[in-house]
């Protein structure tokens, strides 16, 4: 049974079609990145998965249940972290988590124990007995994540979880999300910071203007030429070697080294072998943009061409 199954989902607000046609599946144990530009419909899609918004068309299954007909079953199994940070301002962090757990039907004892665990997990120990209104944005973000986990859900929906987090907390979030997935949970993370998703997600859902990209589009976009960045201890020798290999016209030389568009990983391997063979001291050889970003940029470029 898939953790999240979405097929042909659409939702409009008046004449604004926020989501036109979303179709994807996320299996348990996987982290899927929900990727799209601002206004692509990411939050609307997550609200529909979180049982808060009724889709106009299409079918959704979260943890095997339909949010429309069995919202209570879905809610018992799904944790949602909204993009809009809200907390009961005058309750303390601990009280807020206990209250959330109780709202999920946990007894006071269980709720108190769970709140303690989560405060440890998201590293809010020092603030546990302060009112939530004193929390900074990043701390509220962590509280919000803890609240999403309060009932130990099978499916996690995280809407922009990393915004406002410092680098240490981001690293912590990454580890936590990977660990949650390895425990067999299904995680869907939305973000427009692709570098971050790159390290967290093992699959991606591209959403652009309310439409998810089909698998063949993604494959095509992934296989288009992409830029690789080369650095050498000896820039002059690098330039000469590129010239000799016939890359002079397409390579862009700058003070950091060179950027070369390559069709495939095989082409990259060949070029690297050639440069090493020519005795160029290559110190760095890597894609200039991450996989997600490459596909995302390519898809949005095609979208613009179509329009």
């Amino acid at each position: 049974m898939a953790g999240i199954e979405v097929s042909g989902v659409a939702r409009a607000f008046g004449d604004v079609h926020a989501v036109r046609n979303a179709t994807f599946t996320v299996e348990p144990g996987h982290v899927a990145g929900l990727i799209g530009p601002n206004g692509a419909g990411k939050t609307t899609l997550l609200l529909m998965l979180a049982t808060l918004l009724r889709p106009d068309a299409g079918a959704i299954r979260v943890a095997g249940f339909d949010p429309l007909t069995d919202p209570a079953e879905v809610r018992a199994r799904m944790g949602w972290m909204p993009d809009l940070l809200g907390s009961w301002a005058s309750l303390t962090v601990r009280e807020a988590l206990v209250a959330s757990a109780r709202l999920y039907g946990r007894s006071t004892d269980v709720a108190t124990a769970r709140a303690g665990e989560l405060i440890d997990l998201v590293d809010l120990d020092e603030l546990a007995d302060r009112p939530t209104r004193v929390l900074s944005r990043g701390q509220k973000q962590r509280l919000s994540l803890a609240r999403a986990l309060v009932h130990d859900p099978e499916v996690l929906l995280l809407d922009e979880p990393a915004s406002g987090l410092d680098p240490v907390a981001r690293a912590g979030l990454r580890t936590l999300v990977r660990r949650l997935a390895s425990e067999g949970r299904t995680v869907l993370v939305s973000s427009h910071v692709l570098a971050e998703l790159e390290e967290m997600a093992d699959q991606a859902v591209y959403l652009s203007a309310g439409v998810t990209a089909a698998a063949d589009e993604i494959a095509r976009a992934a296989s288009t030429a992409r830029d690789w960045r080369l650095r050498s201890l000896d820039p002059d020798r690098l330039r000469v070697a590129l010239d000799a290999a016939g890359w002079a016209e397409v390579a862009r030389i700058d003070n950091l080294g060179a950027v070369v568009p390559l069709e495939s990983e095989e082409a990259a391997a060949q070029l690297l072998a050639h440069l090493i063979g020519s005795g160029v001291p290559v110190s760095s050889f890597a894609p200039a943009v991450g996989d997600l970003e490459h596909v995302f940029l390519d898809l949005s470029r095609n979208g613009e061409d179509d329009a």
Binding site: P82, D83, G86, S87, R102, L103, P131
Partner: protein, 359 residues
């Protein structure tokens, strides 16, 4: 069912726990107590002379508590749902296992309990008024319960509107307008409505010709000389068509619900009963054909005019208790507002209020 109550209690607890940590709330309560104390002191001074103590003070304090309660309650209730939505805590509650009905009813109960705190703060003054004079225990009980119910009605309207309207400021303002419509609008509607639907009263009077009696005398056993009947007309307002407006006034509900107290001549002994008699009097259609016949009741020493005017007590007793109608209408309004708010707040949401986001 116990699951329902458990969730309801949880929503109420979370809401109240936040309210009791707000400083402004204590300030408001303090100001309220000071105002009620001041009013009580002034009432005692003002009524000592001509009213028999406690009754007048008691009913005035109850009205004052109702006035302040209905003024404070919208501010405490009418941002319950849209305020939570603005704060971003509504959606995170709605994704849990509590239902929308529990959330809306819980918010209402919390707002009501908060308003009841004001009534509770006024209790010492009510006790003082009772100690002053003879206020029947039933009056104390009934007027306190009905006042509490009216505060619940205002809280329900506030919470209902906060679920229907997007902006807290707007829903608070509309709730105040509803309270004003019930408290003052009903009086205006009653007065203007009654005055605009007037009926003509025809009075026919037949008098004894006293000049002829003086001049000629009247032999025993004979009819006195009579003047020809005189007829004239005038217009009266028809309050009996519009008494329902008055019945919908919360002050009238409280006054009319309290058990009436009359002296042995059938005259009301407290403010509540005077209001109740006035309201019930309005239920009765005025007599449109008035016949006054002095001749028919003639005696040699003068006319016996039959004095059949009712005492206030008789009017009171032959009328419909209007508080029942008014309170029923209020409870219906409150239940409707809450039910509508539940419908509009239910998830998965069908439509969103313009310009709002659900999270």
């Amino acid at each position: 069912m116990s699951g329902f109550l458990r969730g309801l209690r949880l929503v109420v607890t979370i809401d109240l726990r936040q309210r009791v940590r707000t400083v402004a709330w204590y300030v408001l309560l303090g100001v309220f107590v000071v105002l009620v104390a001041g009013v009580t002191a002034l009432l005692v001074l003002a009524t000592d002379a001509f009213l028999d103590g406690g009754g007048g003070v008691f009913s005035s304090i109850v009205f004052f508590v109702l006035l302040l309660g209905t003024l404070v309650s919208p501010a405490l209730s009418a941002n319950a749902i849209n305020g939570e939505r603005d704060a971003g805590t509504l959606a995170t509650t709605q994704v849990t296992l509590v239902t929308t009905t529990q959330v809306v009813l819980g918010k209402w109960l919390a707002a009501w309990i908060t308003a009841l705190a004001f009534l509770a703060a006024a209790v010492p003054f009510l006790v003082f008024a009772v100690a002053l004079g003879e206020v029947p225990a039933t009056t104390i009980l009934v007027s306190t319960i009905v006042t509490a119910l009216e505060l619940g009605v205002v809280a329900a309207i506030g919470v209902g509107l906060s679920g229907l309207l997007t902006r807290p400021l707007f829903s608070v303002a509309v709730t105040y307008l509803v309270v004003a419509a019930l408290s003052i609008g009903t009086l205006i509607a009653f007065g203007l409505g009654g005055a605009s639907a007037q009926s003509e009263v025809r009075t026919t009077s037949t008098y004894v010709d006293w000049m002829a009696v003086e001049r000629d005398g009247v032999p025993p056993g004979e009819e006195p000389p009579c003047l020809p009947p005189e007829t004239w007309t005038y217009d009266v307002p028809r309050f009996d068509h519009v008494w329902g407006f008055l019945a919908a006034n919360p002050y009238v509900v409280v006054a009319d619900a309290a058990p009436a107290s009359f002296d042995d001549r059938g005259t009301p002994t407290d403010l509540f009963t005077w209001i109740a008699v006035g309201v019930r009097q309005a239920q009765h259609a005025p007599e449109l054909e008035v016949v006054f016949d002095e001749c028919a009741n003639w005696t040699p020493s003068g006319a016996v005019v039959d004095d059949e005017s009712e005492t206030p007590r008789e009017v009171y007793e032959r009328s419909v208790p209007s508080w029942f109608v008014g309170l029923a209408a209020h409870l219906l309004l409150a239940a409707g507002a809450l039910a509508w708010a539940v419908r509009r707040t239910a998830t998965p949401a069908h439509r969103l209020p313009r310009g709002s986001r659900i999270a």
